[in-house]
């Protein structure tokens, strides 16, 4: 079924297909990734929305496995870059080589780097220098890279999945705010539960590897993205998304007392875009034909947590962005509920 045929189907059918594909993808990934339901769900949501994900978690929680599984389930090209302090931008983007054609002529040939893939895993991204980290900026935001004065488009869909380790901060280069802002979600990978841990051991020590079937093509993923993006958001929802993002700024009239006290800088407008895009996917996954306030609230924390810069007082009081955002979401929910009274 091509794209034109698909657009002629009833909207209910397309939305049902959207849900089914997402569920199939999730089930395929979770054959290899035990537990981590919310991590998988959020990662896939970001991927459908066309965003990039920053996974944060201690080593051994299956971050790399998750990315590999996604690539396998989508039948997409996968590249992995292990970020180290001596990694150069050209190691990521590619480089131009002087090539002899055997006739005595020399010409430059572009050797593409690992960024030319559908799914790029940037492992331990905070271990590379800011120069190398910045090399990803254009790729992540614009979908193309410029090397040797020539702009080269990336494959579509293009999805960067970076990981970083909250431990061992010595010798690392924390991601600059501008680069953090380019990540659609920051997902905290939790430690598996006891039951999940047991299943992981059972699965990984039996000598067999789960075989992941490709359940979706890149084209289908792009169709899902288009369908979710076409889901309209009403004016009230847009205003609420705006106020939610503006409330993360300490000088905003919507800011909570905690935000005024502990936050140095709030989220950028790109956070609002991400919030609404993710809310649309959440609504589509719920089978709704409109975005609700609950959709906004459900995706707000992974969208906003890495876009807020906490001040020194927050660090002194051992407060993180999640805790501040929980208070903000409760305040928003109460305020929106009052509007209906």
């Amino acid at each position: 079924m091509n794209q034109e045929d698909a657009s002629q189907e009833p909207l209910e059918t397309r939305l049902a297909n959207f849900q089914n594909r997402f569920e199939a993808l999730r089930s395929a990934i979770q054959k290899a990734v035990i537990g981590q339901d919310e991590t998988v769900r959020l990662t896939l949501m970001a991927m459908v929305a066309g965003g990039h994900v920053l996974l944060e978690g201690v080593p051994g929680l299956g971050k790399t496995l998750l990315v590999k599984s996604i690539a396998a389930a989508l039948h997409l090209r996968f590249q992995r870059v292990q970020f180290t302090p001596d990694l150069m931008p050209s190691d990521v983007l590619g480089t131009t080589l002087l090539v002899d054609d055997g006739l005595g002529h020399h010409h430059f040939r572009f050797e593409p780097g690992p960024v030319f893939a559908n799914v790029l895993l940037g492992d331990e991204i905070n271990r590379a220098t800011p120069k190398t980290q910045s090399a990803l900026l254009e790729a992540m935001q614009e979908g193309h890279v410029t090397v040797g004065g020539e702009t080269r488009p990336l494959l579509q869909p293009f999805f960067v999945l970076a990981t970083q380790n909250p431990l061992e901060m010595e010798g690392t280069y924390p991601l600059p705010e501008a680069q953090m802002d380019r990540f659609f979600f920051q997902i905290i990978v939790p430690y598996p539960t006891e039951e999940e841990f047991s299943r992981i051991l059972e699965l990984t020590t039996a000598g067999t590897k789960p075989e992941i079937q490709a359940v979706m093509t890149g084209q289908e993923l792009l169709e899902m993205r288009a369908l979710a993006a076409s889901l309209p958001a009403t004016e009230t929802i847009r205003k609420r998304a705006v106020r939610l993002v503006m409330a993360t700024h300490p000088d905003s009239p919507y800011a909570t007392p905690e935000i005024k006290r502990y936050v140095r800088y709030g989220a950028s407008p790109r956070a609002g875009q991400a919030c609404l895009a993710a809310a649309k996917i959440s609504a589509a996954l719920a089978g709704r034909f409109h975005v609700s306030s609950q959709d906004l609230l459900s995706v707000a924390i992974p969208v906003l947590r890495h876009r807020m810069i906490m001040n020194f007082e927050a660090q002194a009081d051992a407060l993180n962005a999640d805790r501040i955002l929980q208070g903000l979401l409760a305040a928003c929910e109460a305020a929106w509920g009052k509007e209906a009274e």
Partner: protein, 479 residues
């Protein structure tokens, strides 16, 4: 609404501050307060009655129905072509969601009606429970009242049977006539009308009171002491006089009868206080006639005349004295009968009192029986079988306190005076009294000895310790 309240409260605050600042502001305050209050109320009213926007209505409807911004989104979807498809699908989806919630019942049967119905059912059940409780309580009360009524009837029956038995056995016609009313009283009690029973009891009590009053008017009890003192002057009338002084008319009558027999023999009886005797008897005669007891007055008058006639002689012949004593015996017998009759009336009244208390549901002591008290009446078939109210007999009179006697005479050389006291003439005192006094005295002596005489220090301590140890508890407070 909050805006209106805020305006009102702010106005009141401003007014309060202004009022505390100047006296002239008081007048302005008194005008400003109602104006601000009315204004704030109008603001609230306007805010409440204003027409809500479509968006507000949609938000409220979503909240009431429990939808996730479905109606709000429908009301705000733009009219462009791409959105139309979504709006139609959203409308269909919302319709299904609303239908699934079965809102027909919610709209047709509002929550208020559900609450009212629930409250009505709850109140009805509560009322039913209370009524059932009341019914049980009333039934219990009725049963209790019936039991008490039966108990009272039984108690009344006991009294009435006592009366009937008394009527059958007594020889006193007047008492028989009074207590024959038992049948009428039973009839009143059997009506189960408390008022009728009370009325019958009151009537019966009035009769008994009337009887007691007539007996009291004729009684010679108030004159018994005076008559006894006068009769004591006649030789041989000591026992009669003593019985009269003790108000024991039955015994007095017996003594008089015995004396009358003795006076039938020829002889003379001496009289003491010759001059005063006739006057004393005449005075008692006057008192008796003043009280309306002419027969007693006649007897006393005769005795007075007899004493007066023989005052010079100092004695009176038995032949002359015998008819007077015979008349006196008759009076005493009559008085004795009246006393018994009065006692029966009193017992009857106490029985009626007890009966009244029981009818009122009050606790009371068991009243005495008429039949058991008949032994006090003179004669009768039950004489000697009952008690006169003192079943244990007369109270034993202990010996009177000893009297001091003073013997004056010669004992050896010179005049001496000896006082002899009987054993029981001493005043009662606690056993420890003399001991305390003695110890106190000894204590003083020892203090004095310790102070005056050269007693070694160690010995002084020993003496002090000794007296402290033997000192009674009360004495320790003596410095």
């Amino acid at each position: 609404m909050l805006l209106g309240l805020t305006v009102g409260l702010a106005g009141l605050l401003v007014v309060g501050v202004a009022g505390t600042l100047t006296q002239t502001a008081v007048l302005a305050v008194s005008l400003l307060i109602p104006i601000l209050w009315i204004a704030s109320c109008l603001v609230i009213l306007a805010f409440t009655l204003r027409k809500p926007s479509d968006s507000e209505v949609a938000k409220r409807a979503d909240r009431v129905i429990g939808l996730q911004d479905d109606l709000l989104s429908l009301s705000e979807y733009p009219d462009d072509i791409p959105s139309r498809e979504w709006r139609e699908a959203a409308w269909k989806h919302t319709s299904q969601a609303v239908a699934a919630r079965k809102l027909v019942w919610t709209i047709g049967f509002p929550r208020r009606n559900v609450i009212l119905l629930g409250a009505a059912v709850t109140l009805s059940l509560a009322g039913l429970l209370v009524m059932m409780g009341q019914w049980n309580r009333i039934a219990g009360q009725k049963a209790e009242m019936a039991a008490k009524q039966a108990e009272r009837a039984e108690a009344a029956e006991e009294i009435l049977e006592d009366w009937e038995q008394f009527v059958e056995t007594t020889e006193d016609q007047e008492l028989k006539k009074v207590f024959a009313e038992a049948a009428a009283l039973r009839e009143a009690l059997n009506q189960e009308d408390p008022m009728a029973a009370m009325l019958a009891i009151n009537q019966m009590e009035a009769k008994l009171s009337s009887l007691q009053e007539s007996l009291a008017a004729q009684s010679m009890s108030s004159q018994a002491a005076g008559i006894a003192e006068a009769l004591e002057a006649f030789e041989g009338m000591g026992a009669l006089s003593a019985a009269l002084r003790n108000q024991n008319f039955e015994s007095a009558a017996a003594e008089a009868e015995k004396l009358e027999k003795e006076l039938s023999k020829a002889g003379e009886s001496k009289m003491r206080r010759k001059e005063a005797l006739a006057e004393m008897l005449a005075n008692e005669s006057q008192t008796a006639i003043a009280r309306g007891n002419s027969s007693l007055s006649d007897v006393l008058s005769k005795l007075s005349d007899t004493a007066k006639r023989n005052s010079q002689k100092g004695s009176v012949s038995n032949k002359e004295l015998q008819p007077c004593v015979g008349d006196l015996c008759e009076q005493l017998t009559k008085e004795s009968t009246m006393k018994a009759r009065g006692r029966m009336a009193a017992i009857g009244k106490s029985q009626l009192d007890a009966l009244r208390s029981r009818l009122r549901g009050e606790e009371c002591e068991t009243p005495p029986s008429l039949c058991q008290s008949k032994g006090a009446s003179p004669g009768g078939q039950q004489a000697g079988k009952g008690t006169d109210g003192q079943p244990l007999g007369e109270q034993t009179e202990l010996a009177q306190a000893g009297q001091s006697e003073k013997v004056t005479g010669l004992l050896g050389e010179g005049e001496s005076e000896v006082t002899v006291s009987s054993a029981n003439s001493g005043t009662a005192a606690a056993a420890g009294g003399p001991t305390k006094a003695d110890i106190s005295e000894y204590f003083d002596l020892s203090q004095k000895a310790v102070a005056d005489e050269a007693i070694p220090l160690a010995h002084r301590r020993t003496i002090r310790t000794y007296f402290e140890r033997i000192r009674p508890v009360a004495e320790t407070q003596i410095p």
